[in-house]
Symmetry: C3
Subunit: 268 residues, 3 copies
């Protein structure tokens, strides 16, 4: 029996259909909305300074993704993250390519100061966000997740939140506990913005959850199992993307029980 049961968390999402407010990048918007609908959540993309903070009070969770930035968006991101904190809604930061430019590094630092409940990135991004050397060239990580464990722990303690480093093996930490989630499929990095969409799924799992660490691990486990199921029928990245949405939509307790591979280490 697993200490964290992904199926319980998935049931909560499907029963409550949380409205997830996303300020995300232009590449991800459509696929993220489809992933959230497939998992049972309700997505909304609202990014204008004139309304984003007001809108987020209607939602159950917020995600902010810095993939395609502009100065107006950064202002909206900060105001909206602040509004989420004030209303007590969880928010998730996706620091896409945060190490690549000065604008990204500054934006990442400003958002980090607003204490995201969860940060979800690849190893290069987590390392860069923690202010360490390296940081990758773009959206694709050049480091394995394990290389970012120290950076992830430090960020988790700094924000009093959770950090998820996704890769071939995913790492999740709240600064004390460390979980590893295995699974997924080699075609997943060949489909654009599946990582960005996962950030939305984490937010959906946070809505109404008692424990942010457990909810994050459950979200990653569901995603990994759906990826495996899609990989069983896909012919390539095009058919993988289609099969992945179908697999998320039909994801059953039985498949989760049989396939989810997660381990939690409580030693700090």
């Amino acid at each position: 029996m697993l200490a964290i049961d992904p199926a319980t968390h998935l049931s909560r999402v499907r029963e409550t259909s949380p409205l997830v407010h996303n300020i995300t990048n232009h590449v991800a918007m459509n696929s993220m909305a489809n992933v959230l609908l497939a998992i049972g959540a309700s997505p909304a993309m609202v990014h204008a300074r004139e309304e984003a903070a007001e809108f987020t009070a209607l939602a159950s969770a917020l995600t902010i993704n810095i993939g395609t930035l502009s100065p107006h968006w950064v202002e909206a991101m900060e105001a909206t993250a602040l509004a989420a904190r004030e209303t007590g809604h969880p928010w998730v930061l996706d620091p896409v390519a945060v190490g690549a430019t000065r604008f990204r590094r500054e934006t990442g630092a400003r958002l980090l100061a607003l204490a995201p409940d969860v940060i979800r990135g690849n190893a290069s991004e987590i390392i860069a966000l923690a202010g360490q050397a390296g940081g990758g060239r773009g959206v694709d990580s050049t480091d394995p997740a394990e290389a970012a464990l120290d950076a992830a722990r430090r960020l988790a303690r700094q924000t009093a939140g959770v950090v998820a480093v996704t890769g071939e093996v995913d790492l999740v930490t709240d600064g004390q506990r460390v979980a590893r989630v295995r699974g997924g499929h080699p075609l997943m990095p060949r489909v654009t913005t599946l990582g960005c969409a996962l950030t939305g799924v984490v937010a959906a799992f946070l809505a109404g959850a008692d424990d942010r660490f457990e909810a994050t691990v459950a979200a990653l486990a569901c995603y990994a199992v759906a990826g495996e199921l899609a990989g069983d029928v896909a012919q390539g990245p095009g058919s993988f993307a289609v099969a992945f949405l179908d697999a998320l939509f039909h994801l059953e307790d039985k498949a989760l029980a049989e396939r989810a591979r997660l381990e939690v280490d409580d030693a700090p």
Copy 2:
């Protein structure tokens, strides 16, 4: 025999391949373009203040969707709707989540004043646009279409246009006539922006049509039948989206004659 024959309208679209100019939201742009290409129209997305009004004179119809707003876009939307009116081209308003924020309510009111030929929204949006209570939390309607009939009638009379309320059963009214279109598939709301894309299809059907009410009903009937056909082969929302484009592309008179379910009530 149907009083409104969807096949006749579909043939006109395929023969004339109308250029449909869309100022639509970022989530919808790609899928809307694919839907319009599949139905036989030619899509273009142009939103800058510097060119949108000029561009729309080249097109046969215009759609404006307020899903992802910014102040510059609102200016472009107003100027472009005005240009469409001046050139005599039909334009369709899609008031996404119009009740959710003050910015949306104000934008909706400004565009409503420019008398759209057709307004297409879900029940919550139509109720909110008509200034009634309710209005939903986001892009997903919390009311059935029938609940918006009075609001739809009032908006139709106010704009001297047509209002389509889409849902499990679609309602269309020009303030006098009321049509109901049945069909579609339960997976349709699980695929993002199919409603937004339908707004484009309505615009394509308006181009060169004699009767805006009939053209709108025909567009909705074609969409519903394609949705049914896609549902016959889909495994989930991913494969539904694929099958839906294929079904729109191959939509035949025979399937329309057999499956279209629409009724028109002339009593005001």
Copy 3:
């Protein structure tokens, strides 16, 4: 034996996985990223003035597509094209609907002055960019590629670069040599932004290439063969888009050798 071997160029892309930086339109972003991932490249979309020029120094090639413009983007496009030239990275211009509005004509002229290594457009766009009459109504060409040969030659000489005119038969010229690439499938123009995504593939093939003309021809030949393979299994535009990504991902030397149809004419 072909004078230009597409398989050799494709192998280089897959081995080096070049980072391709794209300032592209909102409709194309997602599908272009998926096409680039499928062919073996690594895509990044970064468009803010505050970072685009800085980012492009990290990339191996740049594309600029004027499909969905705004004034801030035009500034970023110019600064980024200049940065690409200064760092010696190739850049590709995609002049979407350049003849449609004054804003587009001016933007096209400003970008043309920055000497793109390759220009890729349909016949109407190439004719309009060369300042000739015609120029089409939108993104769909109203002229066959052959009609744009003179315009293409003139642009190639003006920029000391390569011009690719894509259509049922593709034309490529560097002002001296002219290549024609046949193949593809009638469903390709029914899937939105496949042309835009091809611009990215050309950029990926330019990275590390000795000869821009040959690399461009090779990219077009790979695309055409993948289109044929997808057409063999597609049921319509929805399934074509899926099959096309799978075909790009699995594209093999054998299929390229058997199916690529290209001819090069050295006479000026």
